[in-house]
């Protein structure tokens, strides 16, 4: 391949690009070095309400390692002092009120991290809601009618 050709071709090509994008690029180029010019993507400002779903996602990133899947106490990382972090799916509801759960996530203590140093109050609320959902002792039964069993004859008809 001709080196000269590719070099000039590239310059020609890039000048065209330059003419097209120059107004925006001038602003972006001024604050970035040559090699690592990252043009930040616009991030839409969405205010998200705390939710169990958001809590579940945060849990996988931050809590699963120590407290295990769905808070079953079978973390993949044992504590520096040996042993495991406690399970979170059988909390005593009278001691672990929603505000107590939020408080322990925020402040931590001992080998439980102080998540308030890194998470927003909304994120902590989401996590507390998720932890609470793990402790829903009486699962709400969906209201559906159990269908009557079909007669064998009818099934025979259907399958032919």
């Amino acid at each position: 391949m001709s080196v000269h050709w590719s070099k000039w071709g590239f310059l020609l090509w890039s000048s065209c690009i330059w003419l097209t994008i120059s107004p925006g690029a001038a602003v972006a180029a001024s604050s970035f070095p040559l090699r690592h010019r990252v043009v930040p993507k616009p991030v839409p400002r969405v205010r998200t309400e705390p939710s169990i779903a958001a809590g579940a996602a945060l849990y996988v990133r931050g809590c699963l390692s120590c407290h295990g899947p769905r808070g079953n106490g079978e973390g993949f990382w044992s504590l520096p002092t040996g042993g495991q972090a406690p399970r979170l799916d059988q909390l005593d509801g009278s001691a672990w009120t929603p505000s107590a759960v939020s408080a322990v996530i925020r402040q931590g203590g001992g080998l439980m991290p102080s998540w308030g140093k890194v998470l927003t109050p909304g994120q902590i609320q989401s996590l507390a809601m998720y932890v609470e959902s793990l402790n829903q002792r009486v699962a709400p039964v969906p209201k559906t009618e159990t269908p009557e069993p079909k007669s064998t004859r009818e099934l025979w008809h259907r399958s032919h």
Binding site: L34, F76, K117
Partner: protein
């Protein structure tokens, strides 16, 4: 071990000054009108910098003093073997960086203090200055209180022969840097020259190696974004007890060999556990790293295996 040499180098060819100038021609087309201005600014900033004087330092990590168990039946013995190898290096290193888990975790503040003091005395015996950052074993239990009384600050920076160093704490509150530290860090790098090599050292990786084993920093992405303007950033870390090399955008990340015990490769979703130390290969997977800073600012990394430290003279 079938590999006979323990010298593994990762020249930082991507981030050299020559590479940067070479890249200039290519970028010229894209940056167009501002090229001349940018080139002048670059030349000016280079002139303002005192040249880097070549030097050597050592990266030690995860020494876990105080551990008693099968993963390493003498953590002190393997640390001392490493220190002997360091003492024999020629040219001698200017200092040692120790990236956390200096001691094995304990619930007792008193015992933690004893272990940290013992670590300090063991390293002081080598008569080479050293800088440390905490690991979760040293600092999570009491949020770094005892660590600070014995070892000093949890985070700090220093300048050595033209190279910037910043030690970070991503363990004492949990596996994250936290809003306060990020604000502090931002203040530190604001005053810094983006063309000068910057070496960060911390315990846990600053990118997500494997979160289920806590091999990550929850808010590491924020710190990495703050560094997007910097051209030569290297992170030296520990915690994962094995060599891992990785690049994120403009940053190179290198995990160091532990002196305590090796750990398995990340990936399987199983509980993280070390193996019992082998009787025939007691030092398998243990070692340290020698870093040579060249006049160009490039780093030459050499990993020394404890099982092969007799090869140290080959490093001269």
């Amino acid at each position: 071990m079938s590999q006979s040499t323990s010298a593994v180098t990762f020249p930082q060819e991507k981030l050299t000054r020559r590479g940067l100038l070479g890249g200039l021609g290519m970028v010229a087309g894209l940056v167009g009108g501002s090229t001349v201005f940018r080139y002048a600014a670059y030349a000016q900033s280079r002139a303002a910098i005192e040249p880097i004087q070549p030097f050597r330092f050592v990266h030690l990590t995860d020494t876990q003093l105080g551990y008693v168990g099968d993963a390493n039946r003498s953590v002190l013995g393997s640390l001392q073997l490493a220190l002997e190898a360091i003492g024999a290096l020629s040219p001698a290193p200017d200092f040692m960086l120790v990236t956390g888990d200096l001691t094995q975790g304990t619930p007792s503040d008193r015992e933690r203090k004893n272990r940290l003091v013992f670590f300090q005395q063991t390293l002081e015996a080598v008569k080479i200055p050293f800088y440390t950052v905490p690991g979760e074993h040293d600092a999570l239990m009491d949020r770094g209180k005892v660590y600070q009384t014995v070892m000093g600050d949890l985070r700090y920076g220093f300048l050595h022969k033209g190279v910037q160093f910043i030690g970070l704490d991503n363990v004492s509150q949990g596996f994250f840097l936290g809003k306060d530290q990020l604000a502090w860090f931002n203040g530190q790098i604001e005053k810094m020259d983006v063309t000068r090599p910057l070496i960060l050292f911390c315990h846990a990786p600053l990118y997500n190696v494997f979160a289920p084993w806590n091999w990550y920093t929850f808010d590491g992405n924020i710190l990495r974004a703050m560094l997007s303007r910097f051209r030569r950033v290297t992170v030296l870390y520990g915690h994962v007890h094995q060599i891992i090399a990785h690049t994120t955008q403009n940053i190179r990340h290198y995990a160091g060999l532990p002196t305590a015990w090796p750990l398995p490769e990340p990936g399987p979703l199983v509980e993280l556990k070390p193996w019992p130390q082998g009787a025939t290969h007691p030092y398998l997977g243990l070692g340290l790293r020698v870093v040579d800073v060249l006049a160009s600012g490039d780093l030459k990394l050499t990993n020394l295996l404890l099982s092969e430290v007799s090869h140290v003279s080959a490093l001269e």
